[in-house]
């Protein structure tokens, strides 16, 4: 019975064994790693990053990579960096740490990136920091202000922050509130991870006695914040400090309106973009709050600022970003936004680092360059980077601003500090840096 089938099985067995035996005995020599940097050729550099392109964190954040890509195109058209053109791979993680792990895996093994540049999010990027450092892959300018990117370079030697960390942002906000609103009853609205935790740590240095209530949310969890807002209301909160992403600024505003909770609002830079939140309010309420009115709702809100944005079209940096965006946006009808400016500003720092590194580029050399020279980089940041051998923390300060008619008006000069109990000092020196005339760092 079934002789043919059985014979076929036998033939397969024999062939497999034979080919296996033939393939065996490859000798005792095992190849060793050669020195060339993965992802770098004489004419190209390939970098990658994970962003939420879909899902609740996508609004706003999904625009950041388009800023990067536009700026790299601009640099590539001018001949690239040391003759190399920059190519950026962007993968969607939907702000889900598990996906981040998967897409990072793909970028390392399939796309073979030289470095991760600007991977976004605290819970998401946290999932891959260990992996990137284990494999010795530079992990530059994480798009998040968590402390863990830069406070312990021995643990994560390849990772660098970029934006001001949430602790110093919390400190600067806390000091401002303590000095200017000493009687305010403060409620904290926090993302339930290191983002909220770091911000709370900074704010509590100044506001411990003024904080009367703390409410947290989980990204991807419930979207109804009526219970949180009711709690603020019942505790008599009259100033809410929010360390949250933009969608949750909109959601908290909707819930506050719903339960009749009135307060002053102070959102961390991350969640405060007026144009985006206005648009989100419109889409989340299905137009019950039109976008213009949503932007108006943001009036009087306070936040911080560390790079010039679209509301300052006369700023030299914004003029440069506008020029780049007008010429290199993939879709002509999309406007320059603060998120695209954020991306371009990061891209500027990356190009700066590549220029400073010189022609001989390896994964180790770029880290060394940043540690040695990153602290003196001049760029769009209102305060200098803190990069050194002992710290991989990003921009060292922010100014406090108030939002009026969708634009920000400074309440304080730039305030510079560091994590821990470092004092907060006024320092406008980096705010006057102007871009080089070519628009490309030298």
């Amino acid at each position: 019975m079934r002789t043919t089938a059985r014979r076929a099985v036998q033939a397969v067995c024999v062939l497999t064994t034979a080919s296996l035996l033939a393939a065996c005995g490859a000798g005792k020599e095992r190849p060793s790693e050669d020195g060339t940097a993965v992802g770098v050729t004489d004419t190209t550099i390939k970098v990658g990053a994970h962003f939420p392109l879909t899902g609740p964190a996508a609004p706003g954040y999904s625009e950041i990579p388009s800023g990067h890509q536009a700026f790299y195109e601009y640099v590539n058209d001018a001949g690239g960096v040391h003759g190399r053109k920059i190519e950026m791979v962007v993968k969607d993680d939907a702000y889900n740490p598990t996906n981040t792990s998967a897409v990072t895996n793909d970028m390392i093994l399939q796309d073979e990136i030289f470095a991760m540049v600007a991977g976004l999010g605290t819970p998401t990027h946290r999932a891959v920091v260990q992996r990137l450092n284990d494999d010795g892959i530079p992990d530059l300018f994480v798009s998040s202000g968590s402390l863990q990117w830069g406070d312990d370079p021995k643990k994560s030697p390849m990772t660098f922050g970029w934006q001001p960390d949430y602790e110093i942002e919390g400190k600067i906000i806390g000091k401002y509130v303590k000095e200017n609103m000493p009687d305010a009853k403060v409620g904290l609205f926090l993302q339930d991870d290191d983002f909220g935790e770091d911000g709370e740590k900074g704010a509590r240095q100044f506001l411990d006695s003024q904080i009367v209530d703390v409410q947290k949310y989980t990204p991807g969890g419930s979207t109804d914040f009526s219970p949180q807002m009711s709690s603020f209301k019942s505790k008599g909160v009259d100033l809410v400090l929010g360390f949250n992403t933009p969608s949750y600024t909109a959601l908290s505003q909707i819930a506050a309106q719903g339960v009749g909770f009135k307060s002053k609002w102070f959102y961390s830079n991350v969640g405060s973009d007026p144009a985006l939140v206005g648009g989100l309010l419109a889409s989340m309420t299905k137009g019950k709050i039109p976008a213009e009115q949503g932007v108006k709702l943001m009036d009087g809100m306070m936040t911080t600022e560390y790079i010039p944005g679209v509301d300052a079209p006369e700023d030299e940096w914004v003029k440069l970003w506008q020029k780049v965006w007008d010429n290199y946006s993939k879709k002509g009808d999309e406007k320059l936004t603060n998120y695209r400016i954020y991306g371009m500003s990061q891209a500027y720092t990356f190009v700066q680092a590549l220029q400073a590194n010189g022609k001989d580029l390896t994964r180790e050399s770029i880290v060394e360059t940043l540690e040695k020279e990153g602290g003196s980089f001049e760029g769009p940041g209102l305060a200098p980077f803190r990069f050194s051998e002992d710290s991989h923390m990003g921009i060292s300060g922010t100014s406090v601003v108030e939002i009026k008619n969708g634009a920000s008006e400074p309440l304080t000069p730039v305030q510079v500090t560091d994590i821990g109990d470092a004092p907060i000092e006024e320092d406008d020196s980096a705010a006057s840096d102007a871009p080089p005339s070519s628009g490309i760092p030298e």
Binding site: M1, A26, P97, S101, R126, A127
Partner: protein, 365 residues
């Protein structure tokens, strides 16, 4: 040839021996394929292996015992968290830690399987689906309740480094594949080894008295009971076996993803597993394997396709679920019994033709 066949007869006529033989051959082929693949493909194969283990358990439960579970993602979560906690405590650097973690994952899931299986055995059809659906929604959220489970950010999973594996394993792999074992290939080999063991066990169970009882319960519970089968017991055993598979799969998944967080175990995971089982062909282990392959490869294929067609990264990300949904719909429309289910009559026709040929041949000495 004739002598070889008579030598092989005890092997081919005893199910256990036959299953072991097939699994061994498949394993050798899989090892050779893994060994000659890029690290990227190795991670895909590893993913396929753990999905296949979970799908194998589910296809047994749904296909043989007739219980529809929408909660296997939650059981994988239990396995993943159990394995992660053990790996964290033990350091997770040696092979012993890995097996301890996986065995713990299986044991914990067996307990959960009994606890859930007992009430579930009283339910039928949509009601058991509803009960397990609750599990899928509620269980991953438990991680947000306890600090030890890491909240939304999850727990990092330590994975053994290839250089710390026992020397004989390194030498063995080197001998067979001429490629240094690294973390990626190690996880792929481990996954496929465990997959082979699991499938032999499941295939055997399915051929045994236990499997016949499950079929009897599925086809007609009244007659099964009249024939002396304890309905509840049969169902609880099926659920527990299935949960153990999910636990093992969860433990492997944790090591591959290197992170255990609630975001990995959404309701989507449970539904995807079910989709893989249906896609491959309900009740068939081969079908589960094929379904798992589709799960592991199709989304990446769709994203790459989108990117090569010139879509932006955002559009490519959005097109992936569309392609996945379309494939699923096409399979359901064109092959309602799943891929294996629809191929089976075809294969039977071919083999009956060859066997009738063979029969005439055998008559002439």
């Amino acid at each position: 040839m004739e002598r070889l066949r008579s030598l092989l007869r005890p092997v081919t006529s005893v199910p256990l021996a036959r299953h072991v033989l097939v699994a061994l051959i498949a394993l050798v082929v899989a090892m050779a394929v893994i060994g000659s693949s890029s690290q990227y493909l190795q991670t895909r194969y590893a993913e396929m292996a753990y999905f296949a283990i979970a799908a194998g358990g589910l296809t047994l439960l749904t296909g043989l015992s007739g219980q529809l579970s929408l909660g296997h993602g939650a059981l994988m979560a239990v396995g993943a968290y159990a394995a992660t906690l053990v790996l964290e405590r033990a350091g997770g650097e040696t092979l012993a830690d890995v097996f301890l973690a996986l065995l713990t994952a299986i044991a914990v899931c067996a307990v959960v399987g009994v606890v859930v299986g007992v009430p579930a055995a009283r339910l039928h059809g949509p009601y058991i689906a509803g009960a397990t659906l609750t599990l899928a929604v509620a269980v991953p959220r438990l991680a947000n309740q306890w600090e030890a489970l890491g909240g939304e950010q999850g727990l990092q999973v330590p994975v053994p480094r290839a250089s710390e594996l026992p020397a004989w394993i390194q030498d063995l792999i080197w001998f067979f594949t001429a490629v240094e074992i690294d973390q990626y290939s190690f996880l792929a080999y481990l996954g496929w080894l465990l997959l082979a063991i699991t499938f032999v066990a499941l295939a055997n169970l399915s051929r045994s008295r236990v499997g016949r009882r499950w079929r009897a319960v599925r086809d007609d519970d009244v007659s099964a009971e009249l024939a002396g089968i304890h309905l509840g017991r049969a169902r609880v055993v099926a659920f527990t076996v299935s949960a153990m598979c999910a636990g093992l799969a969860g433990g492997l998944m944790a090591m591959n993803v290197r992170l255990t967080a609630p975001g990995a175990f959404t309701i989507t995971l449970s539904l995807t597993l079910l989709a893989a089982v249906v896609l491959g062909g309900l009740g068939s282990l081969t079908g589960a394997l094929i379904g798992a392959g589709v799960l592991a490869f199709l989304p990446h294929f769709a994203t790459d396709l989108g990117e090569s067609l010139g879509f932006s990264a955002t559009q490519a990300a959005e097109v992936t679920p569309v392609v996945y949904g379309l494939v699923l719909m096409l399979v359901i429309l064109l092959a309602p019994a799943g891929i294996v289910g629809s191929l089976r009559p075809l294969l039977a026709r071919i083999s009956s033709r060859t066997s009738s040929l063979g029969a005439t041949k055998e008559k002439t000495p």
